[in-house]
Amino acid sequence: MKAEITQKIGFFLLIAALAITILFLGSILYFITVNGVKVLSWQFLTDIPRKAMTAGGVAPAIVGTLYLTLGSILFSLPLGLITAIYLVEYSPKNIIVNILRMSINNLAGVPSVVFGLFGLAVFVKFFGFGVSILAGSLTLSILILPNIISASYEALVAVPRSLREASYALGATQWQTIKNIVVPTALPGILTGVILGIGRAAGETAPILFTAATFYTNRYPVSPMSECMALPYHIYALMTEGTHPDQQKMIAFGCALILLLLVLCISALAIYLREKQRRKYV
């Protein structure tokens, strides 16, 4: 009897924990949506900022985020895929490969502001790229590299052994097997990783703080060497700089909503693709 009561109380606490979690996270989505919708309009999405950031739109920030994100994928996808292919197909079982695995895991845990410092010292200063889309993209690409590697790794490992053996039996070499059989089969899983990486790169602020972002410009970036506005940094700048806090707050709500929608849609898409893929194999 006592055990029954303990069980009831215990389960109640678990339900309460989940309810509070959902309440907290739900209220964030609610407040940002309700306030953000007020400023969202076609003009907000497509116009440049006007009147010292109190009117107009945030198009340069959207474009900047787009460039930074695509730029970072451009670098991290090939590198991440190659690393994953190496780990699955080529790597011997030895201590050096173990160290490599550990360093990938640890790279994933490095604080984002530390990537910002690294980008500042290496890309901005040492290579002389200056504060630019190129420097920001490179910094972000190292940040998302572990995500791309682990998603690609999972996808490649899931390719059945029999497919590889069939290919070898037909006389194909290892490289031909990888290129024609393994990678195409794993492609949906790799794509999931890429999409999740895009979501992560789009939302990060600290790494681009010193490497790419600028607060106020009414021009679009013209080359990889120009600095740019970015949605996440724009939210921060609106809240901490400028002279019209109230109007700026509403614009920040709009930016937060766009960013939130962007990131949530991207990760929902990735998860949908993954679930679909999983069902195919199981």
Binding site: F11, I28, L87, V110, L196
Partner: protein
Amino acid sequence: MIRTRENIYKWIFTVLAFSSLIFLLGIIVVLFVESIPVFRSTGLFKFLFSRNWYPTNEANPEFGILSMLVGSFVVTIGAMLVAIPLGIGSALYIHELAGDKQKMYLKNIVEVLGAVPSIVFGFFGMVIISPFIQQLLKIPTGQCAFTGAVVLGIMAIPTVCSIAEDALSVVPKAFREASFALGANRWQTLWGVVIPAAGSGISTALMLGISRVVGETMTVLMVTGGAAAIPNSIFSPVRPMTSTIAAEMGEAVVGGQHYHALFAIGFVLFVITLVLNLVAEIISRRYRLKLGLDL
């Protein structure tokens, strides 16, 4: 001919695969080299344990990060007090009480929420939570360690929850069945068998949660106020390490002592998170070995 080509591909892949290792080593080297001038002029001990942070004092700048270490520590502990019960409680619910379909939805929702950018949490904390806490508790400013801990704690829930859920889900079914066979009810089984069996996996979740909170930048920058002093209560403003770097790098002269001091903070931060991540990894390896799973 084919042989050579195969070998060339293998070589290219091997070399490029090690770029991650190079990046990690590169980060260590860069942080260390850029920190040396400050460690040399201030001394490592004084840098870590002096509470005087006057980086822009021209005659006699001082670089002591004790108050930031304390700030990071206070905020992190507070955040974990929020994230641990809620994150692990939710994971237990998903594992034990949710049906198959509900489980799938909840896991995906948690994962999607984990992708919400930290700037969104920071912004929400600044415009909604911080004024709310200020009014509720009648304190001079809502931007304080307490608010920071609450917002960071909420942010860390998805991380803690999904890793803990993974740990619970790999506990072999046989453990549960054995417990039921001995007459234990579901709660006794969960509490006495499943949680202990998943214990080290759950502690991995905690380590990674702490690591995420310690390294979080934008949220603390926006909600903890930013006074570089040792807080005398949890309702005082604090300035953790990450937000100092983010807030001051813009004004620091490149190559100056201040610039190097900020890299030195980054170095300290990096070492802390590296240790946390290594501990998490070691625990999780042991755990998987114990349950007889692949690494």
